[in-house]
């Protein structure tokens, strides 16, 4: 159908961003996949209300809501958080680094990833959207439903924590 292919054209360029946000919010690869699939089904349903404004912010908002719904459902069934192999393993070393630098980088990187993983969801999503997706304040406000002032203060808090963690020894 025309609508489906139009939808695919709008959504597919933002699939990585969608998965990255879901992955950070849920902390689990399989769960992030479920969240993105669910979000895309929802997005297809809302597609008639999409006015062609900002596809990425529009889609990320739906992904974000689906991720929160998954988190709430997980909390309601009170299961233990899934063990996350990816997060437990250090990042692969950059081949350009010498072994010692590579080790330091890998340690710092896994420490920072762990820190971001532990941040409250509202700080985490704000930092991910700004630093990893390079969204504007307005776009972040659109995705998270928070006023721009709140976006700014959340970003400030998240950055302070990140900078502090980066500056401290492991």
């Amino acid at each position: 159908m025309e609508r489906d292919s139009a939808f695919a054209a709008v959504a597919l360029p933002h699939l990585d961003a969608a998965y990255n946000l879901a992955r950070w919010l849920t902390g689990s690869g399989p769960e992030a996949e479920d969240v993105v699939q669910e979000a895309l089904v929802r997005a297809l349903t809302y597609f008639p209300t999409y006015r062609g404004a900002n596809a990425r912010a529009w889609l990320l908002r739906i992904v974000r809501n689906a991720a929160y719904a998954a988190l709430n459902a997980r909390r309601a069934t009170a299961t233990e958080p899934l063990f996350d192999e990816d997060a437990a393993l250090p990042e692969p070393a950059d081949p350009r680094d010498d072994p010692e630098t590579a080790l330091i980088r890998a340690r710092a990187s896994s420490r920072l990833n762990a820190l971001l993983g532990r941040l409250p969801a509202e700080l985490k999503e704000t930092l991910v959207l700004r630093e990893l997706e390079e969204l504007s304040y307005r776009e972040i406000a659109e995705v998270t439903g928070a006023p721009i002032g709140t976006v700014m203060s959340r970003l400030w808090r998240a950055r302070r924590l990140l900078a502090k963690a980066a500056g401290s020894e492991p």
């Binding site: 489906d4 695919a8 990585d16 998965y19 950070w24 809302y46 008639p48 990042e91 990833n113």
Partner: protein, 240 residues
């Protein structure tokens, strides 16, 4: 230990969010503010650290899975096309007579899509009950508002259940009613500024009646005749 009140303005500069005038004004202040210097260094350290964060690109399997899932969705969305063609032709004249506020076409399409989807077996309600004292509390904690729930069984429109839906990016309450063999969806969410005045419309053979009550926007969707659906809306508004 923040004494400089420009921290967030400085951050906005760092993120390229200030216009030239704001930026110039801040530059003047920064020349003499030690705290701004320290804060700028913090922002740079945070950005360097962020470069070491993992970026999780979507797995190839996800794209494949999505394409597979688009299949059933396509079939599901197209099965009503013959219906809307047949009914649509008969209603074309009526459509021309309906004056709708601009921009509501998309909303109407979403409502009808959701209504049609809810009519698939097992999708009409999440909670089956004709008791408003069961249906109303069921929404507690699921929505950021309390939808008004009324039973119109005495008037021939029994409440049969409720469900949670997502429309236009927000969670809404959907109340399920029946009239004879006609299912009725009543969608409820808090009224927003600029929501349209009450009106009736028809789309793809489905009638839609919209009204406001107690700060809520209500949208009834059904395959019933327009007069009947308007009657339902009137009775609903009068019911305690």
């Amino acid at each position: 230990m923040t004494t400089c009140d420009r921290a967030l303005v400085l951050q906005a500069e760092f993120d390229g969010e200030l216009d030239a005038a704001q930026s110039a004004e801040l530059a003047q202040h920064r020349e003499t503010c030690a705290e701004c210097r320290a804060n700028w260094a913090m922002l740079e350290a945070a950005r360097r650290a962020a470069r070491d964060l993992a970026y999780h690109a979507a797995p190839a399997s996800l794209k494949a899975a999505l394409e597979a899932r688009a299949g059933p969705a396509r079939r599901r969305l197209s099965w009503r096309e013959p219906v809307s063609f047949a009914v649509g032709a008969a209603l074309a004249a009526m459509l021309l007579l309906v004056v709708r506020p601009a921009g509501d076409n998309a909303m109407l399409a979403t409502l009808v899509d959701d209504h049609v989807r809810s009519l698939q077996p097992g999708h009409f309600y999440d909670i089956a009950s004709s008791d408003k004292h069961t249906v109303k509390p069921w929404f507690d904690g699921k929505l950021d508002f309390a939808p008004p729930v009324k039973d119109l069984a005495a008037d021939g429109y029994p409440l049969v259940g409720g469900r949670l839906d997502y429309l236009g990016g927000r969670a809404v309450a959907a109340l399920a009613y029946e009239h004879g063999k006609h299912p009725i969806n009543l969608f409820v969410w808090p009224e927003r500024a600029g929501s349209p005045a009450p009106f009736a419309a028809v789309r793809e053979g489905y009638n839609i009646v919209h009204w406001d009550a107690g700060g809520m926007a209500l949208w009834a969707v059904s395959d019933m005749e327009k007069d009947e659906l308007e009657d339902f809306a009137r009775l609903w508004q009068k019911a305690p």
